[in-house]
């Protein structure tokens, strides 16, 4: 039983190493949707608000929400963009913590 588990742990370490290797990009999207009641299928009709793509080589790309102001000019929808930015911050923080935890697992297993 212990040998089987040791093999499983080694497989986990290998998988984690592959995940870390593949994690070269992070994408955060924010959408909104109008649904009736709690119909989960309604989420498939969600419309995008903003998107941020962050690459580990330092490149990043953001699609920002715009709206027309009273003068008819396009301006950034600050409220929606701040909402999206909050999600981006949460994602960046989470990713940093998870990567640290995974890398510490690898070093602990040798």
């Amino acid at each position: 039983m212990a040998n089987e588990f040791e093999t499983a742990l080694k497989n986990v370490a290998t998988s984690i190493a592959q995940y870390v290797k593949d994690a070269s990009m992070m994408q955060v999207e924010t959408h909104y949707v109008e649904i009736v009641g709690n119909d989960p299928a309604g989420f498939e009709k969600a419309r995008p608000v903003a998107r941020t793509i962050i690459k580990l080589d330092g490149d990043s790309e953001t699609v920002v929400p715009m709206r027309k102001n009273e003068a008819g000019n396009s301006v950034v929808d600050t409220e929606l963009f701040e909402l999206h930015q909050q999600n981006v911050s949460t994602a960046i923080d989470y990713r940093a913590r998870i990567l640290n935890a995974l890398l510490s697992t690898l070093s602990a297993r040798g």
Binding site: A46, N87, A91, Y94
Partner: protein, 254 residues
């Protein structure tokens, strides 16, 4: 897992929420882990509930951060007093916390049985060990599914869904909010998402801390393969310490 910091995670065995792939490693047949939190309709009560869950998650992480030092201290203490190896008396020290004493007794039992049998040791270990072993295996399986596949975070208030976020293993996120939510309702989902991710991270830390502590604690065992044999006992030890902290937080919150 009975710890409240993890109890809103649902890890379905064979079917679940629809899979949305973020990564090449995504297996669309694997059901997604889902965090479902239904908050009270009153905003202040909802905020207080989130504060409590956030506090529990934070306390759990602090305990897990301190676990290596606690294990190291225990190992040093036993090595200083029991130069001939682990003995029953090590667990009877009057100032030893009950969780530490329980761990030492489990380790002593492993060594004692190892002296009596040359093979098939795992099958002869106490029922308690077998139960802890199965719990650790199940938790490890849940953890792997949690971190290697998509997870959903859903927040409701008074039964009304506010938002849903799909979280990839490495932080990719796709959030959908209901149209025309109040800013404070948007804030509730964002806070719920933070607590869910802190809880997910705590689960990973519990797992990695258990593996590392088992490696360290095996120094006390004379049995070959002690790190693996001690995994269930150390897993139980970590959970007991977390439960104790949760009880303390609940009493303090009253």
């Amino acid at each position: 897992m009975s710890l409240s910091v993890f109890r809103y995670w649902d890890f379905p065995e064979s079917s679940g929420a629809p899979a949305v792939s973020f990564a090449a490693s995504e297996d669309e047949t694997t059901p997604a882990a889902t965090w479902r939190l239904d908050l009270p309709p009153d905003h202040q009560a909802a905020t207080q509930a989130l504060d409590m869950y956030a506090s529990q998650a934070q306390a759990s992480l602090q305990v897990l951060d301190a676990l290596p030092e606690r294990v190291e201290s225990l190992v040093s203490r036993v090595q200083a007093t029991d130069t001939a190896g682990l003995s029953f008396s090590a667990a009877e020290e009057p100032d030893l916390p009950s969780e530490d004493a329980g761990l030492l007794l489990s380790l002593f039992e492993i060594d004692r049985l190892a002296e009596q049998v040359s093979f098939g040791l795992e099958e002869r270990l106490p029922q308690d060990w077998q139960v802890s072993y199965r719990q650790f295996q199940a938790a490890a399986s849940r953890l792997l599914r949690s971190i290697s596949h998509l997870a959903w975070v859903e927040t409701s208030q008074g039964g009304q869904l506010l938002g849903r976020t799909a979280v990839g293993w490495a932080g990719d996120m796709q959030t959908v909010y209901l149209h025309a939510l109040l800013p404070q309702q948007v804030g509730l989902h964002q806070r719920s998402l933070e607590v869910a991710l802190a809880s997910r991270y705590a689960l990973i830390r519990l797992f990695t801390a258990t593996v590392a502590a088992s490696s360290r604690i095996s120094l006390l065992l004379a049995t070959p393969g002690g790190a693996l044999l001690s995994l269930p006992a150390v897993w139980k030890y970590g959970n007991q310490i977390l439960s104790e902290i949760e009880r303390y937080k609940l009493v303090a919150a009253r």
